[in-house]
Symmetry: C2
Subunit: 276 residues, 2 copies
């Protein structure tokens, strides 16, 4: 729990409520970021802001960036450990999909306690659920952390909290994409492999940071189209996001994996950088 309550902001002022005519509610017409805040401050905030700006561009929602960025930096939530969620919607408009005359964007910033994941998930690894809900391909929206997230909601409902810690999602062609709330990496021999996200999936900021970090340390890094069978070739694999860091996979479909040396190394990079 946070030491003190941080109030939410709506359009730059404290507030808990949004107009019922907001297009984020009507159509999921907007984007969001969830930023981990530690005692040292926000984690990967520059990458979060770059993705936010890119998402706004992809939705043709690119209003003036500088005032938005300034408002984000002014939010009091960055000084308190937990998670800051930033939501930017197209704004308030009439009925109908056309966005002429919409007043916006609307900006909603909220502060939440950090999730209380048991530490042994990161140490001993997690058990992964095979989700039946598929991710549908849409190149125009691929990678963007937009507000249309029913696939994740349905996938997350497939398993109870007790037995599995993350679920693996495939696209409608059966290719590996990501976890429900994380990205996926495999280690195969001397190569680090992660699914390409050019037709669906969320391009996570921790994924981006790890891709750069692996490259910097001399690893061959491949982002590509991967079938489910490629998991059988993995010496080790793990999920990652910017809130919890890295969770090694311990069990998937009756097969066990040890927590591998490469995964431990990547966890060390994250710990050295942020004490996550």
């Amino acid at each position: 729990m946070p030491d003190r309550e941080i109030e939410s902001w709506v359009n730059g002022s404290p507030g808990q409520q949004l107009s019922v005519r907001d297009r984020g509610l009507a159509y999921g017409d907007g984007v969001f970021e969830t930023v981990r805040v530690t005692h040292s401050g926000p984690v990967l905030l520059d990458f979060h802001l770059q993705r936010l700006r890119q998402g706004l561009r992809q939705l043709a929602l690119d209003h003036d960036w500088e005032p938005l960025e300034a408002e984000i930096h002014a939010y009091p939530g960055w000084s308190e450990p937990g998670v800051v969620k930033l939501v930017v919607t197209r704004g308030e408009g009439g009925r109908g999909y056309a966005s002429d005359g919409v007043r916006g964007p609307n900006r909603i910033f909220t502060h939440h306690p950090a999730p209380a994941y048991p530490p042994h998930w990161a140490v001993k690894g997690i058990r992964v659920f095979p989700c039946q809900t598929r991710l549908a391909p849409n190149p125009l929206l691929a990678g963007v952390k937009h507000l249309n997230r029913l696939e994740q909601v349905l996938a997350r409902r497939e398993w109870g909290a007790e037995s599995f810690q993350e679920g693996l999602m495939r696209d409608t062609d059966g290719h590996l994409v990501e976890g429900v709330f994380s990205n996926l990496f495999m280690v195969q021999g001397q190569t680090v492999v992660t699914p390409a996200l050019d037709s669906c999936g969320v391009a996570g900021v921790m994924r981006r940071w790890l891709l750069e970090e692996f490259s910097r340390h001399g690893w061959q890094v491949v982002s590509g189209t991967l079938g489910q069978s490629s998991l059988q070739l993995a010496d080790e694999w793990f999920f990652c996001n910017s809130v919890y860091g890295i969770w090694p996979v311990r069990e998937w479909q009756q097969r066990q994996w040890p927590v591998g040396a490469v995964t431990r190394q990547a966890q060390q990079w994250v710990t050295d950088r942020w004490q996550l």
Copy 2:
């Protein structure tokens, strides 16, 4: 414009605002209906309510139906011509996709003026834009009028209001699906044809009513997988929804169609029933 303003309702009481922690905003986790209201009352309300209930079931959001239905019937918007929009979200919850502990559902009812479409669109027909934005397949969500509508928002932004009145959308395999805010029918010889909506698209209530009406009048009615070339085989074709009724297609990709006798007949059925 309506003769008098009808206030919006949030959870059974007059209100304009919703919690920023509502999951409709966070994830598009909910469904909606837009119901035309004429001087004679709501159009196809029974079909709208059946689809709403079915959508809630498909999202595993099936709380008690009877109180929700009673609240819908009690909304003052039904007595004033225009459009009533009903939104039902999973409710208010914490951060994260898991829906345990969510307090809900939240119900938002709003009243809007009827759109002022020029009457000649229904009389002389419309010009249809070929949307590049594709509809992605997801059988779990197909047919449901849920709040994840970014594909429609992006498609609607492809053309300006002046030149085209509706846009034709295909799925990622190139099959015909629907308009951006309407369903699609073709007449081919003695057969009435409409795209199947088992992998994507919204199962419109006017589409359902017309399918039943055509059958009742002895037409052979086919709902199937249709390529774009099937439009070339159409003697006549039209779009429909429960707000505007039926718009014949006059022009598509440099080809012209006359407003056909079957389309006129269907328009007559709608007019006889509702004076739309």
